[in-house]
């Protein structure tokens, strides 16, 4: 079977603080015969989808990224001719919602296209934004299970979704109340997915910049409930959630001295681990709460 090549939008954090998310995801994709081909040129996703009705300026950035996929198809850089994979939940949300908005408002798209006159092409709504989890669902848990060489036996993990993957419903990758995409993958890897109502609540998002104590409270709730439910680690697909849940453990510990640190993984890191992929893609040095003690205890590293 020839390798599928599909367009991949990284986003800023995947190149810096979440480099381990990118590295592990690309390695996992390769192991599953998929090459994620980075857009040769890309800009910020827009970060937060703009709800203002009358200001199209904030939709230019996402549309410009979508436009690049067409250029990749033309240059034969990809074999999948209409899809763009995103890893970061926030980028996924902003790109997918904007795509939807310009589909529903052709006049807006026309205005944006007119404004982007320096581009060789217009954006013609011919791109579907998908999350890497969508792609893994399509590949199926069977194939994922086949690749496992080091089952994550005995590892209890809370799959954390946060907001951006599930809401609003129109762009959600799964049932907003009962998501199970990550659960299915974790089970296929041999881990035990843990349930908690807090896996779908907000981590505090970018309040971490202006008012980190809001985030400290929210993260404390999410993490301590996860531990009560028996989780030894969490997985996420959002670099901002990861930052809030992992790095803010420092402040949580200051406020709640009884709090016990708990590692937060990108789900792709656990996949890479179970697939027995090269250590170089884990990037555990970027974690605040180091995962190695737990992994050693479970004889996984």
């Amino acid at each position: 079977m020839s390798q599928t090549k599909i367009a991949y939008y990284p986003g800023c954090t995947l190149k810096t603080t979440a480099k381990n998310f990118e590295d592990s995801a690309l390695a996992v994709a390769r192991a599953l015969d998929i090459e994620l081909v980075e857009l040769p040129k890309w800009n910020c996703c827009g970060t937060v989808y703009s709800l203002t009705d009358d200001n199209l300026m904030y939709h230019i950035a996402p549309v410009r990224n979508l436009l690049r996929v067409k250029q990749m198809v033309r240059d034969e850089l990809v074999t999948d001719d209409h899809r763009m994979v995103v890893l970061c939940s926030m980028c996924y949300n902003a790109l997918k919602r904007t795509n939807l908005r310009v589909k529903e408002n052709p006049e807006d798209l026309q205005k944006i296209n007119d404004f982007m006159y320096l581009e060789d092409d217009d954006y013609e709504l011919n791109v579907d934004v998908i999350h890497f989890l969508d792609l893994l669902k399509e590949i199926g848990v069977e194939k994922i299970r086949e690749k496992v060489v080091k089952p994550l036996n005995g590892l209890k993990v809370l799959p954390y979704y946060g907001c951006m993957l599930l809401r609003p419903k129109e762009v959600g990758i799964d049932d907003p109340e009962e998501p199970n995409l990550q659960e299915n993958i974790l089970a296929a890897l041999g881990a035990e997915p843990i349930d908690s109502p807090y896996r779908k609540v907000c981590c505090g998002s970018y309040l971490t910049v202006d008012n980190k104590y809001v985030v400290v409270e929210l993260a404390y709730k999410i993490l301590s409930h996860a531990q009560k439910a028996g989780a030894q680690a969490l997985t996420t697909s959002c670099p901002l959630c990861a930052f809030n849940l992992d790095n803010r453990q420092k402040e949580i510990k200051e406020k709640y001295p009884g709090f016990k640190n708990i590692p937060v993984f990108y789900f792709t890191q656990l996949m890479a681990l179970a697939f027995g992929l090269s250590n170089e893609c884990y990037g555990f040095d970027l974690h605040h709460t180091k995962p190695e003690p737990l992994l050693k205890e479970k004889q996984l590293c």
Binding site: C12, K15, T16, N43, C44, M57, I60, A61, M116
Partner: protein
């Protein structure tokens, strides 16, 4: 063979034409010698000027005298940035006055200076990190990728691309894409996010040069020579020479081969 030869341009004549075209036309132009005229509007006032002038020389022809807003006259210094609009067009154009030829119906104004924030830093103490550029130029994060900076660039640089690279701490792309910037300031004046693209890029180039490039040996060697005082005596001698001696020295100087 003979026929093809006779069709060939006479190189002497070609050279004459080039020399003629390069001749400074401002001083001593006789109106009767000018075959083609255009009308330009400088700050709203119309002037008839010879069609083969640059904006800069046309303004001088019209009587303007530049004290500021004009520097090298070679397209390098970025002092004579000009905004213009052709009659009947909605698009604003930008260009360096010394490099842009006048066109009929051109409405123009010079923007010789752009008020811009410039970060203060001690380059030897700056961390080479992904967020260093954002620390000094936080407005970078306001970029909406509208690309207006790229449209405004007088040097046809991909300004937005280097801003986006800067946001994600990609120094190499930022440096390569901004390398030919002459700091005319048009990007900063047009940016809806009020980013100062060119000053930010200068910091990026300094940090990249200092932290990510090998030390250039020729520069190290030369600095050592300067410190050892190798050039003190020759410089002293040169400052005492007469104009004639200096001219002689200048014309007999060692030239770099092409």
């Amino acid at each position: 063979m003979k026929e093809t030869k006779s069709k060939k341009l006479d190189p002497e004549k070609v050279m004459e034409r080039i020399a003629e075209a390069s001749r400074p036309t401002v001083a001593g132009v006789e109106e009767k010698d000018v075959r083609h005229w255009v009308t330009i509007y400088v700050m709203g006032r119309g002037y008839s000027v010879p069609a083969d002038l640059t904006i800069l020389t046309a303004m001088e022809y019209a009587g303007y005298k530049f004290i500021r807003g004009c520097g090298c006259r070679q397209g390098f210094c970025g002092a004579c940035s000009t905004v213009y609009r052709r009659h009947g067009e909605y698009k604003l154009q930008t260009g360096m006055a010394c490099q842009t030829r006048v066109e009929d119906g051109m409405y123009l104004v010079q923007i010789p200076f752009s008020p811009a924030e410039k970060a203060s830093y001690d380059i030897s103490k700056e961390a080479y990190k992904v967020n260093t550029l954002l620390k000094h130029y936080p407005e970078l994060a306001r970029c909406v990728a509208c690309n207006t900076c790229t449209k405004a660039c007088t040097q046809d640089l991909q300004v937005m691309d280097y801003i986006q690279a800067a946001i994600r701490g990609d120094f190499e792309t930022c440096v390569n894409e901004s390398f030919d910037c002459i700091q005319c300031g048009m990007c900063a004046l047009r940016c809806p996010a009020e980013i100062v693209q060119y000053n930010m890029a200068q910091l990026a180039r300094r940090l990249y040069g200092r932290n990510d490039r090998p030390e250039p040996k020729h520069l190290t060697d030369r600095l050592k020579e300067i410190e050892q005082g190798k050039f003190v005596k020759p410089l002293d001698e040169i400052t005492k020479k007469s104009k004639e001696e200096l001219e002689k020295l200048y014309y007999s100087r060692e030239k770099e081969s092409d």
